[in-house]
């Protein structure tokens, strides 16, 4: 298990994401209203590049015909078959108990702390003035 610096926190604005390669894995890092989350960039269904899908809210309804959009920006829709995943947990909308996209621990770490290590920061130049997104795997 190592902690990988994947981007300056300022690079991924709220509602945005970045796909990074970490230790041979493609991972999507998402900023959901200021909080960061990381998901494997591979749909558990048929292997699609999950993290290039639309980031959306949760489409829901209290009863037929009464539509509601909630939890804006917290769902990810697979670019192939449209399966929806909760960015925060990786759980699928349709089968939350049994179908999950792998998630990874993410934290935002000040550059100062990074200088102390141990972190892997092969591709992201680190400066003490900034905060960084760090993914653990």
């Amino acid at each position: 298990m190592a902690r990988h610096v994947v981007a300056p926190a300022s690079e991924i604005a709220p509602g945005k994401s970045k796909i990074v390669d970490v230790a041979g894995r493609s991972i999507g890092v998402f900023n959901v209203n200021g909080e960061f989350f990381a998901l494997i960039n591979r749909c558990p269904h048929e292997g699609a590049p999950l993290c290039i899908g639309f980031v959306l809210g949760r489409f829901t309804a209290d009863r037929p015909g009464e539509y509601r959009l909630e939890r804006h920006g917290e769902m990810l829709r697979c670019p192939w078959h449209g399966w929806e995943f909760d960015i925060k947990t990786g759980q699928s909308w349709c089968h939350p108990e049994s179908v999950k996209a792998r998630t990874y621990q993410v934290e935002v770490v000040p550059g100062e702390a990074l200088a102390k290590g141990p972190f892997v920061a092969e591709t992201v130049p680190v400066s003490v003035e900034q905060n960084y997104v760090v993914v653990e795997l």
């Binding site: 558990p44 292997g47 899908g53 639309f54 670019p79 192939w80 996209a101 792998r102």
Partner: protein, 370 residues
């Protein structure tokens, strides 16, 4: 249901090593004007003025809006130049033909709409243009791609002319007929076209589609794509019923039919039902000399996509067994949203022999390739 989390780079699995045959690929034009070079001045003008008229409410959109852009394309298939998914050969090679080591890809173009154009002369011109486009723009640049002959289904003479024109041209492997024509395909009005297919050595690929004007269900038009999408198997069931019961295979015993983009789990039950009711009502159809199941076994093949996903994955293997492994052919449906990836489509393991049959050999034999 239970799905294993795929968190590693995929192996190049044995089905891709062996050189697969993909029985359903959709090439698109970059612009509708791409067909103009193959149209006479009259039809170029028609295309640009009134345009195509099918039996549906929208000029350039399907009855049921899809759930992703470009009428339901997978979202990583958009070419960088902003043109239509499936219109860029390089991208198709990268995402499909090279990635999966595809030996042959059977093209099922859904453009030109010659088959169900209400102005049948215009439809005939559009079908011819689409065929030229397939051959020149795709096959000549990528010989692994095989073309389907598009025909104006409701204009028999022109359809037969087009079939005869493409016979012997190795770029064309199949005649493509949208099942939802004006009448069920087994009706006698279509027999001359079906005879021409068999006589000229073409298999027919019945890819879902067509604008018959008839509702998707016998009880009327559904409201949602959520109903329309799962209605495709019922279309296939009606198609098999029509071809078998109307006597097409008794009349044209060497006609070979592939059902494309309907999945296949519905077929065993339909077969049992047909046999059961045939026994009771056979006096109505004395032209049939064999059980419906026997015609199905000898004349009908299915393609896999959109592959059914049972709650217990191994149930799909039993279904395949009941249909016959030699009648099932793999298809991706690239670049549509509901396409299947050959590495993950089957959620239960196939034997090496089953893989060879489904991913390659059945289709080579069916389409007369190699």
């Amino acid at each position: 249901m239970n799905v294993a989390v795929i968190d590693r780079q995929p192996d190049i699995s044995s089905q891709t090593k062996l050189g697969i045959v993909d029985c359903d690929i959709h090439p698109y034009t970059k612009s509708p004007a791409d067909l103009d070079q193959f149209l006479s001045e009259r039809w170029r003008k028609m295309r640009a003025s009134i345009g195509g008229r099918s039996r549906s409410p929208f000029a350039n959109a399907p009855n049921y809006p899809r759930m992703s852009p470009f009428t339901g394309m997978r979202m990583d298939s958009y070419p960088k130049d902003g043109t239509h998914p499936g219109s860029d050969l390089g991208m198709m090679q990268e995402q499909l033909l090279d990635l999966f080591n595809v030996s042959y890809g059977l093209m099922m173009p859904l453009l030109g709409r010659g088959a169900d154009e209400r102005n049948v002369e215009f439809g005939a011109a559009m079908a011819t243009a689409a065929n030229e486009w397939e051959a020149q723009v795709w096959c000549d640049r990528e010989p692994r791609l095989k073309a389907g002959v598009q025909i104006p289904l409701e204009y028999t003479e022109a359809a037969i002319k087009e079939i005869e024109k493409r016979a012997g041209d190795r770029r064309f492997t199949h005649v493509m007929i949208p099942p939802r024509g004006l009448e069920p395909l087994g009706r006698r009005r279509y027999w001359p076209i079906l005879e021409a297919c068999a006589a000229n050595g073409f298999s027919i690929a019945l890819h879902l589609g067509g604008t018959s004007g008839h509702p998707s269900t016998g009880g009327g038009w559904p409201s949602f794509y959520h109903e329309e999408h799962p209605s495709y198997p019922q279309s296939k069931e009606a198609l098999v019923t029509s071809l078998v019961i109307e006597g097409v295979f008794e009349h044209i015993p060497n006609l070979r039919v592939a059902l494309v983009e309907g999945g296949f789990a519905w077929l065993p039950s339909l077969t049992w039902r047909l046999d059961k009711h045939y026994k009771r009502l056979r006096e109505e159809v004395p032209h049939l000399k064999r059980l419906p199941s026997e015609y199905i076994r000898s004349n009908i093949w299915v393609t896999t996509q959109p592959i059914e996903e049972p709650e217990r994955p191994e149930d799909l293997l039993a279904t395949c067994e009941w249909i016959g492994w030699d009648r099932i052919m793999f298809s991706t449906d690239y670049p549509h949203w509901d396409q299947d990836d050959p590495r993950y489509a089957f959620k239960a393991p196939l034997t090496e022999q089953q893989k060879r049959m489904v991913f390659r050999e059945n289709a080579l034999a069916f389409y007369g390739l190699e």
